[in-house]
Amino acid sequence: MLKRNIALGFAAAFSASAALATVAQARDLTVVSWGGAYQDAQKKVYFEPFKKAAGIAMNDESWDGGVGVLRAKVQGGAATWDVVQVESDELAVGCEEGLFEKLDYSKIGGEAAYIQPSVNPCGVGAILYDFVLGYDKDKLKEAPKGWADFFDTKKIPGKRALRQGPKTTLEIALMADGVAPKDVYKVLATDEGVDRAFKKLDTIKGDLVWWKAGAQPPQLLASGEVAMTSVYNGRIDTANKNEKKNFGMVWDGALFTLDSWVILKGSPNKDAAYKFLDFAGKAENQSKLSENIAYGTSNKDAAALIQPAVLKDLPTAPANIKNAVEINVAFWLENIDRLTERFNKWAAK
């Protein structure tokens, strides 16, 4: 009796999971992005209009990044995501590991439609954004001019915040020490360059606070905990717009990077995914995104459609990108583990 019941239970469980599996096969297109104000803007200009225009059902989810997450999704064999927005290092590693579909650019408007840094065999650029020097105009008597002022505690007293870890921190230290933006990675590739960056960081070690999540720097500025911080440019803009803050930012020596859309390997909704990427890659749609949130976009013709008043605060505005450095993915792929260990050694001293 008992045995038969258990057998029945197993049978029921199996048929239920089989039913679930078929549901998973026929699920809607799922697009994953970074959440927060950014995803709200994407909903408004990409997701909702796309559903209407293409007549395709889609869901959106959010995530916090990490190539390990994508690896687990794809290798786990039941990836519930189709299109994901990834950072540049996730794009490079995931591409090497074969986690993404190779993109057929003919389905998304052709390579010529996009700015050069955003074209990649595994992904297509979505936004371009900067790490800038941010400060509170209401609290500082004198506005900082660049990273050199960030390290000058005599001129501008108070604490400073940087992103925890070696990435962006070492580049900023070198620029503060007088290295020209275009030479940063040349210098950082040598042992002397790394030593030089840490030596520069030593000069303000006691005044440094470390942030981990993008939401922290505006909060640190607002509470007066720090006088200056490295921060994503979009966060400063959002704080000024939505919370009536008076934050300023310095574009000189900013570090820029791209986020890209990828299609996860083996996605059952590849056609719908391409249709979505095509929609999100069109200049008229991208220009609306920039008007909602201060990120630059990847379509060459998008800038021409944006109002000049909005354009001047975007990372892609010619004046803003003139002295900016692109974060070097290849360098960090090779050195992230070693320099993370060294950074933590330095921090613990």
């Binding site: 008992l2 990490g66 590693v93 090497e96 074969g98 050195n335």
Partner: protein, 420 residues
């Protein structure tokens, strides 16, 4: 006597009663097992299996074997004294060409880069510049020309040491050790030797938090256990309220309280006690305060339940026999709360070991615990071998400590109770 009774009790059947009893007992056991079987299977698949899988990743090393199979075979008999022979070079050239065609080269490059920084560039530049298979007999020369690293012994020992199928590389790295070019285990370079410090820091923070919880929680639990039910229930709600609040909310509340223009600093400033704000957050102090607050209920509840069971008559008896209050407390009351202290401390300590969010938000760069690094290598850099090795070392150290601790507490109970 019972035997005689049992066997002689039922002469009508062939089977003695004892055996039938045993049989009935066995059926019962099987039924009981069938009832817990679903849970057992569930735990096996969702708990034991994944843990075993993660531990296996700490020693699993098959990436290089899969990508550079001929090279691994060619290096199997190499003594490692001089550069390998022409055969190995030719094998490597063939492997690189094949891997480039199938797009798997980066997987090996990533693994080799862990052992020798810069290996990624060596492999990718070689693959880029190697147009076709070199003429027989010229592979050594060709590869050396493309990248001088192929004339170095360390380049080749790195490939040999990563040949797998299992490796101690990650576990050694988790203990700040590495193998040198001759295969001897040596200390890692000072810039990369951080994990022993991080483990020590993790245990130190956990022990401090456990001690703080015990010091703060003991009087509270005593109060809860001795008050009349009405008031003790009200106090219990105060203990449980933070317990039911999200960890993230409580951690952020501490940021608001402790930051340099936060509630605490402003109040002290207003009272004229300080001129400059104290640094209460983004350092070790902030981590200990926030973690103690979060983990306090885990200490109070086991203590409370053990104190609830102690009869007040014991203390009265001790007093009537002439024991001063302190002696009565130390000799009579404290030993009886030991099981509660043991359970509470172990619970708090083990929970504290794995803390991640709280140190990340209220700690400085020098206060990150081992879980921060495990998370970093798991999600961000996808170095799962090292992440698993760090996890394995933490698991082992925790199990050992728990065993030692269990022995200590048990010993205390045997000698420290009312027997003496």
């Amino acid at each position: 006597m019972t035997d005689a009774l049992l066997t002689g009790a039922d002469a009508s059947t062939e089977v003695p009663l004892k055996r039938r009893l045993r049989r009935a007992e066995r059926t019962r056991q099987v039924k009981a097992l069938a009832l817990v079987l679903p849970l057992l299977v569930f735990l096996l698949f969702t708990f034991a299996g994944p843990i075993a899988g993660m531990l296996w990743r700490a020693v699993d090393d098959r990436e290089v074997r899969q990508v550079l199979p001929q090279t691994v075979v060619a290096l199997a008999n190499w003594d490692g004294k001089d550069l390998p022979d022409e055969k190995a070079y030719a094998a490597l050239a063939g492997d690189i060409l094949a891997a480039r065609a199938s797009g798997t080269l980066a997987i090996a490059a990533k693994r080799l880069n862990y052992a020798l920084n810069g290996f990624r560039t060596i492999l990718t530049s070689t693959a880029r510049n190697l147009k076709a298979a070199p003429e027989p007999g010229t592979a050594k020369e060709t590869l050396g020309k493309i990248n001088p690293a192929w004339r170095e012994r360390t380049t080749w020992t790195t490939i040999r040491d990563a040949s797998g199928p299992v490796t101690g590389f990650y576990l050694l790295a988790a203990l700040d050790l590495t193998r040198n070019v001759d295969g001897a285990i040596v200390a890692a370079s000072p810039d990369q030797a951080i994990y022993r410090d991080v483990f020590a820091r993790t245990f130190l923070i956990s022990i401090s938090v456990t001690a703080l919880c015990l010091i703060l929680g003991f009087p509270v639990a005593y109060l809860l256990a001795t008050l009349p039910p009405g008031r003790s229930n009200l106090l219990m709600v105060f203990v449980l309220l933070p317990f039911w609040t999200s960890l993230l909310v409580r951690t952020c509340a501490w940021i608001v309280l402790l930051q340099s223009r936060g509630v605490v600093n402003d109040s002290l400033h207003w009272l004229g006690i300080i001129d400059e704000p104290l640094r209460l957050i983004y350092n070790r102090f902030g981590v200990c305060v926030a973690m103690t607050h979060v983990l306090l209920p885990f200490m109070i509840l086991p203590l409370y339940s053990s104190m609830k069971a102690i009869s007040p008559a014991y203390m009265r008896a001790a007093a009537s026999l002439g024991a001063p209050p302190l002696t009565a407390f130390l000799r009579i009351y404290l030993p009886q709360t030991l099981p509660g202290i043991g359970a509470g401390s172990l619970l708090v300590f083990i929970l504290a070991l794995g803390y991640y969010i709280t140190p990340a938000l209220v700690g400085g760069a020098a206060d990150q615990m081992i879980s921060y690094f495990i998370a970093l290598y798991t999600t961000e850099t996808a170095n799962w071998g090292l992440a698993s090795a760090l996890g394995a070392v933490l698991l082992l150290a925790t199990i050992l400590l728990a065993l030692v601790y269990g022995k200590l507490v048990q010993g205390q109970q045997v000698t420290g109770g009312m027997k003496n």
